[in-house]
Amino acid sequence: MRLKILDSGHGFGTKALFALIRAASRQEILDVIKLVKYRPDFYGNPMSKVTQEAMRGASPWSVGDRELMAAFIAKINQCEFCTKAHSAVVDLAYGNKKKASAILCDLESSGIDQTLRATLLMLGKLTREHVVNADDMRAVIAAGASFQQIEDALAVAFSFNIIGRLADSFGFSVPPPQAFDAGAKYLLSRGYR
């Protein structure tokens, strides 16, 4: 990572925890974990509460749907780390190893539910252009979404428009697929706490 403190500036207890995780998982610590564990009172702890609520709080959207939104936003932001990390969670959540890549490669012919498709299109515009209007929201509602679903999707966008920017700004390294698979299992079982 571009800041040495994020790689190796953690306290003794955190470094010991990282050593245990490395030994148990046989994987390097993901840079996103290093980030949230660095001075966690400043960013990691309050951000984890936001992300946990957005991704695992009560919502009409399934966990898989919200992880797909995260992966989609990451792809629009051209964040390779986040796209791969959340695509792995999507595949695991939906029980289909090629689900995320099929949708991210070609949303129009992916055959996903029209409400989710319209929501992704709106999130894509917001992420790419930084702006959406009432007509964009009406299109999502016309596709069957409730206002609650839209607001919940915007919470996912809030989280991942932060995380993706930080991944690219701090220069997260992109690990091999098995590291993302291990991360996906953790995120599905434990969430973002």
Partner: protein
């Protein structure tokens, strides 16, 4: 998601009003993407608008102004949160406009 606003506001209060290594004014300026001197101004704008294009050299230029890594860390975090907040608020306003009509 009954608690999302509460969690979101707690995050904003922490990074903008809580203790830190960077000054409160620099954290606020990074959040607003306004009022910072070069080269920090360019870095903050790229965090907000085109983060994939950030280079090692841009981070090094900011480091060479005398800012510590902790200060850079906080300022970049505030810049990312600020842009996500602006997007979120624009979208929430669009939802309210759609709800009215």
């Amino acid at each position: 998601m009954a608690n999302i606003e509460q969690a979101r506001m707690a995050l904003l209060r922490r990074v903008l009003e809580g203790e830190g290594k960077a000054s409160l004014s620099d954290r606020r300026a990074a959040f607003d993407n306004r009022g910072l001197a070069e080269p920090m101004s360019q870095l903050v704008d790229k965090v907000a608008r085109s983060a994939p294009g950030i280079t090692d050299e841009e981070i090094n230029r900011v480091r060479q102004t005398g800012l510590s890594e902790d200060q850079i860390f906080e300022i970049v975090v505030c810049a990312a949160i600020g842009q996500a907040c602006r997007q979120y608020e624009v979208a929430k306003a669009a939802v309210e406009a759609a709800r009215r009509n």
